[in-house]
């Protein structure tokens, strides 16, 4: 497929988040909870514009840290949907965004 022109490229932001909980959370659980939370807060229509993506190979199970890629204009909305998550698989959790950057290397 032909690549998009540079002027049409969308600006993205990478959000580095941390999970605070007693037990370790697996990536499959956080992915499911993240999609549920963001869909219910933003709605399918807005989320389709935001194009969020939880980057699988950047999730550190030891440190419980991960990275979400999202369109720049929706970074605040995705942060808001993350703080609305109270539980993951019946485990009490708190999510916080530690860093936001336009570049994955600068996180």
């Amino acid at each position: 497929m032909k690549k998009l022109q540079p002027s049409m490229r969308e600006s993205t932001r990478y959000l580095k988040f941390k999970i605070h909980s007693e037990e370790k959370i697996e990536i499959s659980e956080i992915v499911e909870t993240f999609w549920e939370a963001s869909c219910s807060y933003m709605g399918v229509k807005e989320l389709s514009d935001a194009k969020p993506w939880l980057i699988g190979n950047k999730f550190d199970e030891e440190k419980q840290e991960g990275v979400i890629r999202v369109k720049r204009e929706y970074a605040d909305d995705i942060r808001a949907s993350l703080i609305l998550i109270n539980k993951i698989s019946d485990e009490k959790v708190m999510l916080s965004v530690d860093n936001v950057s336009g570049n994955l290397d600068n996180l």
Partner: protein, 193 residues
């Protein structure tokens, strides 16, 4: 910048540690009191009793008459969750004007966020209405996590992003508690001298 969560009353060690880890100022450097009352007489007595001993005096809203009395009293710093237990938002234009005149801030309580999606929608629409009134009448407002345990806490910048996502000024909401604490600390120190 120091971010202050105004409703951290008598925190345990776990809450203290977690709060500082995620970016809040050490809650032991200021003290706050949340007042609950069933009638105006009781509230007046409690205000007189606690005002000179606490940096932040917060009234737990919900009763319309007491909400109205609270915003008319300059000794109260924050009217917390005026919409609690109500079908309406608990805050109207005359209250917003009085609160602006008496410098009483409207407190959005994040711990009141329910699990049910339908109830979340109702709460957020009440918040939006109250924030619209605050913006129109230049009434101060702030957001707090009011934590009972460490997992109730939320990072200050995430709360700012939450208010920004509702299309209101999140930075203003975060700054307000620090301004109130600074002002009251100066007053209390003058009183001691």
């Amino acid at each position: 910048m120091d971010y202050i969560d105004p409703c951290v009353e008598n925190p345990g060690n776990e809450i203290l540690e977690k709060a500082q880890e995620i970016g809040w100022k050490d809650p032991t450097t200021y003290n706050s009191k949340i007042l609950k009352a069933d009638d105006w007489g009781e509230l007046k007595r409690k205000i007189s009793k606690f005002r000179d001993n606490y940096t932040l005096l917060i009234f737990s809203g919900g009763n319309e008459k007491l909400n109205r009395k609270a915003v008319s009293d300059t000794r109260i710093d924050i009217l917390l969750h005026p919409e609690k237990g109500r079908k309406d938002s608990g805050f109207d234009e005359p209250m917003a004007k009085k609160a602006s005149k008496n410098n009483v801030a409207l407190g959005l309580d994040f711990s009141e966020m329910p699990e049910s999606q339908k109830k979340r929608v109702h709460l957020l629409s009440k918040w939006r209405k109250n924030l619209r009134l605050c913006e129109k009448h230049n009434t101060p407002f702030l957001i707090t996590t009011n934590p009972r345990e460490k997992y109730d806490l939320r990072a200050p910048r995430d709360l700012k992003a939450f208010i920004d996502s509702l299309d209101y000024n999140g930075a203003k909401a975060l700054k307000k508690s620090q301004e109130i604490v600074q002002k009251n600390e100066e007053k209390l120190n003058e009183g001691e001298e």
